[in-house]
Assembly symmetry: C2
Homo-oligomer: 307 residues x 2
């Protein structure tokens, strides 16, 4: 009973005995990327072989990442660079989700979008036909707090999108704050609220949750979240793929985003311990989010099916 | 009844009829600075004459500001530059409060303190005998998120102090986050949580509440707050001045810091409308914080006493 999860009779450790039942009932595997497929720019062992096997067995693969720093196009290139063939249409990143959210609410094309975040958000906004401001362009801007200095912002900004931004600065924070506080009806959209993430292979770094919280702190408003665990992305996926959620399996390394997202949608869920969550965090009495299965890493699916 | 405050039978508009009662029962006037004494680097009309009159009548003056960017010494210089004589001993800024908090808990001198904030915090730490890191020194530092890059932090940091920092960046956020998440027992101290403040005379800017929220977002921890409305500062004031709080009047422009601080401590409270709060915010049904009195600006005390 060493692997039993307290308070959760239903969480099973993935093994050669139960993997077949999961495999047979699932038509689409949804994978988180950071900590599941790769860490930083390094693939996790056995990922290409596992994805290849799943494809060969007719499983649909979908990659769902909260990381907003890249567009779908750039993610497809990253996969390619790492030797894995994945098409743009299989990728759902939170930068894309932000643009799709604006589309879904018929956000007017003549309104602008201010971005705290990186290239990915601006690229997806452009693909969707919107005009983005800020982001990398404002990374080097400084302000001077001196008498008679007036910080001006664009009054036609109708939405602020906040995601992970390694070039966060006071200029951007003031810009976003003024838009949300002063432009009537201005939306506040968060790509996601991950506290930290494996931005490099060796350690975790503040995630979008850090930048989003900063803007919550200055505006005293709460954002609409479009990434995991919000259901916006799942509703979008369902519309596109027409697969019942009970035939999907969400594979991720985070309880509060991936597993919660999968559980909320009625998917099967598989926690992998190759990212930010270790076994003791899963078993901690304070944890209230349980996957259906957990295992060390994605390639265990291949290993257990083969054994 | 145009000035009646809904839901609060006890809030009175200051006038020539009630000013004497307030004046006679109060021995010490506690003033917030931004939005009360000055806006940015400009004195608010009539402040010097009012302070002079209060001193001449034997009233004790205390200046209590949540702005942590300066030390007491620098605030005394600012007052002097603006033509008002105020001594260091009359100033209680949140940078000083942070250092005094560490003293009050016997924080070990051999441990270091990482600072997201400006010179004021580092200067007060130094005066108190502590070694501060970060702050302005880390204002130009950048990180590169690339494979094999390891961000190292000082394992002897035992406390992180977060205040207003116009040079906030990802380097500082990662440094503070690593200290709080990885250094055993590391304290997380906020100078204050003001959402915005009049950093310049013409407009508001994100306040310490923005930087503090960012660190809450990445660490998922809550800080100890030492500035208003926390009672730490009031306990400290009481010990130093031995004046009963019922004989103090807190004069401020913010309901959620100044007035709440005064009310919690049992002081009389006077809201001035020369800063971030206007009459409609005070009268808004969502507001639950009421001062004993409100008026346009500090010099109304002088005007009403004279009339």
């Amino acid at each position: 009973m060493e692997d039993a999860i307290e308070n959760s009779a239903t969480t099973e450790r993935l093994c050669s005995k139960n993997v077949k039942a999961l495999f047979d009932t699932v038509e689409a595997f949804l994978f988180d990327c950071d900590g599941v497929i790769w860490k930083g720019d390094k693939l996790i062992d056995g990922v290409p072989q596992t994805l290849e096997m799943l494809r060969s067995k007719g499983k649909k693969l979908i990659f769902v990442t909260n990381n907003s720093t890249k567009s779908r196009k750039k993610y497809a290139k990253k996969f390619q660079m790492l030797g894995v063939t994945v098409s743009e249409e299989e990728i759902f990143c939170s930068s894309f989700a932000a643009a799709m959210y604006l589309k879904s609410i018929n956000f007017p094309q003549e309104k602008k979008v201010y971005v705290i975040g990186e290239e990915g958000i601006l690229e997806e906004l452009e693909v969707a036909g919107y005009t983005g401001l800020g982001g990398p362009d404002d990374g080097d801007k400084r302000v001077q707090l001196k008498p008679n200095f007036m910080f001006n912002h664009d009054k036609s900004v109708g939405a602020v999108v906040v995601g992970l931004d390694q070039y966060i600065n006071y200029y951007k924070l003031q810009y976003a704050t003024l838009c949300i506080r002063e432009n009537p009806g201005c939306l506040f959209i968060a790509t996601n609220r991950d506290a930290v993430g494996h931005m490099t292979d060796l350690q975790e770094w503040p995630g979008a949750g850090c930048m989003v919280a900063a803007v919550c702190g200055s505006t005293q408003k709460e954002p609409v979240v479009v990434g995991k665990p919000s259901t916006f992305l799942m509703d979008f996926l369902l519309e596109r793929f027409c697969i019942d959620t009970s035939k999907m399996c969400m594979v991720g390394d985070r309880l509060d985003t991936d597993i919660l997202f999968g559980n909320n949608a009625g998917c099967k869920t598989l926690l992998v311990l190759s990212g930010v969550t270790n076994l003791s965090a899963l078993q901690d009495p304070s944890n209230k989010i349980y996957p259906d299965y957990y295992t060390g890493k994605v390639s265990d699916i291949l290993k257990f099916l083969g054994s």
